[in-house]
């Protein structure tokens, strides 16, 4: 009996991270994530990024979770203000990365948008291949 309980506990312990990962694979993600277009006035689907969700408490850095038109997770995006990146006293530590396996990473400048109103950098962890980025391309 003791062995069975221990085995169940081990199974549960190793299953929890997998369950957590499963919660962000499909839109809407669970937990504190909110649809960005319901937090600020932005298009619901952003060409090149997709449909975004974020926990408002993590703004401006995120992570923002980006989904394609079928609601499948395609990337995790961090938005880091330029003025913070050039401030030696500012750090971004322990940013969550719930999206799982990363295929490749893009880093590029963004001029700003509602929610992150100053120039910043997008750090994009793509969970799909380069070719599959087309899933969030403009129609």
């Amino acid at each position: 009996m003791r062995i069975a309980v221990t085995a169940l506990a081990l199974v549960a312990a190793f299953s929890l991270p997998a369950l957590a990962a499963d919660q962000v694979e499909k839109a809407p993600p669970s937990g504190a994530y909110k649809k960005v277009s319901e937090l600020v006035k932005l298009p619901d689907f952003l060409p090149g990024m997709g449909q975004l969700f974020v926990d408002p408490k993590t703004l401006p850095a995120g992570p923002f979770l980006a989904y394609d038109r079928e609601g499948k997770l395609v990337s995790t995006i961090y938005m880091l203000p330029i003025e913070d990146l050039t401030n030696k006293d500012k750090r971004f530590d322990d940013l969550a990365s719930p999206g799982g396996k990363v295929d490749h990473v893009d880093v590029y400048y963004n001029a700003g948008h509602p929610g992150v109103e100053k120039p910043h950098v997008h750090v994009v962890l793509w969970h799909v291949s380069k070719a599959e980025e087309a899933r969030v391309a403009a129609k």
Binding site: K41, L42, P43, G48, A111, H113, P119
Partner: protein, 176 residues
Amino acid sequence: MMISRRNMLRIGGGLLAGLSLPRLTFAGDLVEIRMQGNADGSHVWFDPIGLRIQPGQTIRWLNMDPGNSHTATAYHPKNFDHPLRIPKGAEPWNSDYLLPNENFSVTLTVEGVYDFFCIPHEHAGMVGRIVVGQPGMSSADSLPTQAPGGEPIPDIALRAFPSIETIMKQGVVRPS
């Protein structure tokens, strides 16, 4: 000054084509300023960035950027403690965020120089200037760059304004 706002589909290309060439405008004409951005959001701009009109003409800002929201907001202390850079006596305006294909209109009746900005993109230099009638000044050097209690206008925005002289000479100033 009259302000109106409505959601609408993108207007036809005829008016846009008409703005693509420098021209003088006449009272009663509706003139359009497009809000634009590139695909990855790294560059945003008003087009035209400088415009000369006559008193009583209406300006319409149209968001043609499919991936971002923009505002047309007058430099005025009532707008987030920004410095006064429209004529004294003229009413300030703020479109609030316009989604793609939304538009906002203002009719300007007081002669002078009107500077405006986009709220989320002022720090990226997204500003514009309208001269109505005879501006009464040949240079913008005397315009304030910071309101009491407010933040200074970012250098990138100050550098982006076309000169009054250029606007008076060309009528329409396209972004470079």
